[in-house]
Symmetry: C2
Subunit: 512 residues, 2 copies
C-alpha cells in the first residue's frame, strides 16, 4: 500500500503489526480510552534495596518490556549497569522501550541483540554501531521509531506497555520521591521519564544520592515508585550536558542563522506574546542570539519558549524577554541548573509537550519552530533518521511534533561535504512536507507553496532571495552531482511512525 507521502509500505507487515498508513497531519477530535498500570500496594518504611541483581531476578521475565530515559545523555551510567546484569543473567526476547538511545548505550544494545536478550526496540532514534547493526538486519523484529510526543501517546493508549521502568535520578529518598534538578548529576527536567513513572507497572529508581525523607520537589512521586536502588554513580556530570554553550563561528551556519531570524522577524508571528522552539546545536544557539537582539530592538517579548532547553534560552527568561520556559529536557548544565532557581521554568512531561492525543499539548500553541534536517526533498518531506548511505543515524526527537507549529522553519545547508541536503526524494520520510513551511539555506529560502501568506510576507526581505525548492535542489545537485541510488534488501528493519501512530515510512536493510 502507499501512504499520503507516496511511500510504499509492505502490506503483509502492515497487517501483521496492525498498522495504518500515514494519512494526514491533522489528528482531529478523536476519543481515546487511556490505559492504566497495575499497582502493587506498598507497605513498609523503605523501598531501598541493596542489589540491582536481586531486584531484576525477582521482577524481570523473558518477553517483558523494559524502559529507560535518556536525560543523562552521553553521561549515562544507568543503562549499561542494568543491561549488563540482564544480559549476563541470560534473559531472552525483551522489548526495549527507552525514550531514546544515546551513543553511550550503543555497544551494549548491540550485544543484547546478538545474544537474543533484546528482540524488539522502540526508540526516538539510534546512531553509531547500533544504527549500523540494525540497518544490517541484526534485530529480530523491526525497530519502531516514535517521536517524543508519539511515545507519550503510545504509552497512554497502551501501544507501549512498560513492565519495568529503570529510571536513573540524581536524587531520591527512600520512598522514591525524586527530581532531576538537584545533585551532582542533575540534568534538569525529567520530562520523558515522567511518562514511564506514571504508566509502567513497576518503577525502579536508581540513584547515587539518597536524600532525607521527604525529598521535594518531587517530580517523580513515591506513589509511583516500587524500588529505590543505591548505586555508586548514575552518570558523569561532565557528559550529561553539552557543557558551556558555544556559538558557531562557521560563516555558512551564521548566514543561515541570520536568515532564519529574518524569516521569523518578518513574519506576522513575530509580535508580543509569540512563542518559539529553537532546539540545540551551534546554529540554533546563533538563532537564539539573533532573535534576542531583534526582540530587544522591537520591544517584543515571548510568552514561552519550548522544547529541549539551552542556557541561551534561560538567559532570555532571566532577562525578561521570555515569560515562561516550558521544559521537557535540558541540553546543557546551565539550563539544568536554572530549573530549581527560576519558578518560571516549568517542567513538563512528554505528553504535555507534544502528545497529539491529549487535551492539548504545548506544541499546539507554538508559533515558531526551527528544526534541522539530514535531507529535505522537493515535497518538503524531511528525513532526520537515515544517512545518505541508508544507515540509521538519527532520531525523530520532537521533530514531527514541533513541526505542527504555525511557522515551521527547516534550517539546513544546501550540501554537507559531497552530500546534497536538498534532494528529489528523501531516503526516509520522518516529517511530512505538509507540516513544513519554510526552508532556510545559506543561499536563500524556499517557501512551501501551500503557504501563500508567507510568500507575501517573506518575499521582499533584503538579502534573502526566495527560490522554489526545486531551484534549491537543482543548486545542490549542481554542486555535488547525482548520487548513485542506494540499494536495500526487501527486509524491513524499522517502522517509522508518524506522531499519530500511523506509518509514514519504513527503513529497509542496507545491501552491502
Amino acid at each position: 500500500m502507499e501512504n499520503n507521502v507516496a511511500r510504499q509500505l509492505p502490506d503483509e507487515l502492515m497487517e501483521q503489526l496492525n498498522y495504518q498508513p500515514f494519512k494526514t497531519v491533522e489528528y482531529g477530535n478523536r476519543e481515546i480510552q487511556r490505559v492504566a498500570p497495575k499497582v502493587r500496594a506498598s507497605v513498609g518504611p523503605s523501598k531501598v534495596v541493596d542489589s540491582l541483581e536481586t531486584l531484576i531476578h525477582e521482577n524481570l521475565q523473558d518477553g517483558m518490556t523494559i524502559s529507560f530515559h535518556h536525560h543523562f545523555r552521553e553521561g549515562d551510567y544507568v543503562f549499561n549497569q542494568v543491561m549488563r546484569i540482564i544480559i549476563d543473567a541470560g534473559y531472552k526476547d525483551l522489548a526495549l522501550a527507552p525514550s531514546s538511545l544515546t551513543n553511550v548505550m550503543n555497544d551494549i544494545v548491540v550485544e543484547a541483540i546478538e545474544k537474543g536478550t533484546v528482540t524488539n526496540i522502540t526508540s526516538s532514534g539510534m546512531r553509531g554501531t547500533l544504527g549500523e547493526a540494525v540497518s544490517h538486519g541484526a534485530l529480530a523484529n523491526p525497530v519502531v521509531f516514535r517521536s517524543h510526543g508519539n511515545r507519550a501517546r503510545a504509552i497512554e493508549s497502551g501501544e507501549i506497555k512498560i513492565d519495568i521502568a529503570f529510571l536513573g535520578v540524581p536524587n531520591a529518598d527512600e520512598m522514591g520521591n525524586a527530581n532531576g534538578m538537584d545533585g551532582e548529576t542533575a540534568f534538569g527536567s525529567l520530562g520523558y521519564a515522567l511518562m514511564d513513572a506514571q504508566y509502567a507497572d513497576k518503577v525502579v529508581l536508581i540513584t547515587d544520592n539518597l536524600k532525607p525523607y521527604p525529598n521535594t520537589p518531587a517530580s517523580i512521586k513515591q506513589t509511583q515508585v516500587d524500588y529505590v536502588v543505591k548505586v555508586d554513580a548514575v552518570g558523569n556530570p561532565d557528559k550529561i550536558g553539552s557543557g558551556a554553550t558555544r556559538f558557531t563561528k562557521d560563516p555558512k551556519e551564521l548566514k543561515i542563522a541570520k536568515t532564519v531570524n529574518e524569516v521569523i522577524t518578518n513574519s506576522s508571528y513575530f509580535k508580543d506574546g509569540f512563542s518559539f522552539q529553537t532546539g540545540s546545536g551551534g546554529a540554533a544557539l546563533a538563532v537564539t542570539r539573533f532573535l534576542r537582539q531583534s526582540m530587544l530592538d522591537n520591544q517584543i517579548k515571548a510568552s514561552f519558549a519550548l522544547g529541549g532547553i539551552t542556557k541561551p534560552t534561560i538567559d532570555l527568561l532571566d532577562e525578561g524577554l521570555v515569560e515562561k520556559v516550558m521544559d521537557v529536557q535540558d541540553f546543557d548544565r546551565g539550563a539544568a541548573d536554572s530549573m530549581h532557581l527560576n519558578k518560571n521554568q516549568q517542567e513538563i512531561d512528554a505528553s504535555w509537550y507534544a502528545d497529539p492525543a491529549n487535551k492539548g499539548a504545548m506544541v499546539d500553541k507554538l508559533d515558531v519552530v526551527i528544526l534541522s534536517a539530514l535531507e529535505i526533498d522537493t515535497k518538503y518531506n524531511v528525513n532526520v533518521m537515515s544517512g545518505s548511505d541508508g544507515v540509521i543515524r538519527g532520531a525523530i526527537g520532537g521533530h514531527q511534533d514541533a513541526a505542527t507549529a504555525k511557522l515551521t522553519i527547516i534550517s539546513a545547508p544546501l550540501v554537507r561535504g559531497r552530500i546534497a541536503t536538498i534532494v528529489p526524494d528523501v531516503t526516509t520520510v520522518v516529517t511530512p512536507g505538509d507540516s513544513i513551511d519554510v526552508l532556510v539555506t545559506e543561499v536563500g529560502i524556499a517557501i512551501n507553496p501551500k503557504r501563500q501568506d508567507l510568500l507575501n510576507e517573506l518575499s521582499n526581505i533584503p538579502g534573502v532571495p526566495v527560490y522554489t525548492i526545486e531551484e534549491l535542489q537543482a543548486m545542490a545537485e549542481h554542486k555535488v552531482g547525482t548520487p548513485t541510488p542506494l540499494e536495500f534488501t526487501d527486509r524491513v528493519v524499522a517502522m517509522v511512525e508518524y506522531r499519530d501512530g500511523t506509518i509514514i515510512d519504513v527503513i529497509n536493510e542496507v545491501k552491502d
Copy 2:
C-alpha cells in the same frame, strides 16, 4: 453479617452493593488494576466557553456522576452556580461525588434530592440541613461516606467513575493550566481536586481570573482539561479560610492541648526527624504552639508536617523547625498564601496524602497524629460522623487515613454540654479502635492496651494520670447520666466505608 468492629451489617444491601465487611486496618500488598479516563483529543487554540449552561447541556446526561472539590470551603460559589443550572434544566438521577460537602452547599443539595436531580451521593461528610434530610431518608439510595484517602483509592480503582468534574480555580489560562495558590480567591493546595483532574472523563475548570498563557505553576494541567468557563466570581475570599488563626482560651481545651503535647514529647517518637499531623481547630492550634516550644527546648526538628495545613504550621516551616510541609489542603489564608512563596511547602494530591492502595502514601510515614472525636468508645472506636441524636453531622476527612500513624492521639473532652464523648459504644464506627493509641482528655489519658510500649513510656508523666478507657467512660457517664438509647428505622441511609473500601458501619434513618 457482623464485621470486625462488631457492627451488624444488612446482608441484602451488602450483597446488592457488592460490599465486603471491614476486617483489618492492614491493607497489605494487594495488586490493583487502575482505571483510566476516556480522553477526547483537543484541537483549537482555546478551551474557553462563554456559557456554563450550554456546556452542561452539551455534556451532561441523566444518570451521570459529577464531582466538585471543597477547597473553597464556606466561601464556595462554584457548586451553587453549577447545581442551579443542573436542577433548573431538569436533569435526573445524577450521582454527586464531591471531595466533601460544606455547609454552603447544603440547601441546594437538599433541593436537588427533593427534585430527583440527585439520587446518589458519595462524600467525605455532610452537615446541617443536608445531614438532617439524609438522616430522615430523603435520598433514594444510601450515601457512601469515604475518607480522603479512600476517595482517591476508589477513583483510581474505578469504584468512583467521574463523568464530569466541575472544578473551581482561583486562576486558569485559556487551555486549562491552573493552580490554587495565586489570585484573590487562592486557597493553596488543590490536593483533592487533582484526583478529579486526572481521572474524570471530562474536566471543566471554572474561574473568575483568566491568566495569560501559559499559566504556571500548573497544578492542574492543560492536558487534563476540556473546558474553561469564566464566571464573575468563584468564591468569597473572606470565607475560604478560617481567617486569622486564634488559639483557644478555653481552659479545658488548653489543658487537653498541653497534655497532648506531654504525650507526644514523652513518647519515643519525639526525636529529630519525627513527623506529625495536627489538623485545625482551636485545640489543634494550641497543640502546635506547645509542640513548637518543646521542639525549641529539646532542639528537635521535624522532617515533615502533614495534612490540612494552618498558618502556625507554616510558621514552624519558616522557623526551620519543620523541614517540609506536605500539603493536601490549607485551612487558612496564611497557609494558602505561603504556598507560592516557600518551595518546601509541597502540594500533594489525595492519593499521595492518604491512599492505602498506592505505592506508599504520606500517612504511612507519619509518626504522630492528633485527631478529634464526636464519640470514642471503650473499644477505642471513634465516631466523627453522627451526632448524639443519630443525625449525620460530620465528615471522615482524613481521620481513618491519618489514624494509621505510629502514635495516634484522640483529643477529646469527657463530655460536651450534657453529652458524653466517651461512651460504651459509639453511634457510628468511623475509625476502628485498632488504629487508635491514646485518648487525651482534660482529666487524664487512656492508652490502648495493645500498646504496652506506650503504657511504659507514658505512665509517669507528672500531672498526667493514666486511666483505663472504661474508667474515663464511667467518669463521663457519672457527669451526664445514661442517655436514652437512640431509635432508628431499618432503612439504611448511609454506608460508611473504611479506607480500603470495606464497610465499617452503616447509618440508619432516625426515628422522629
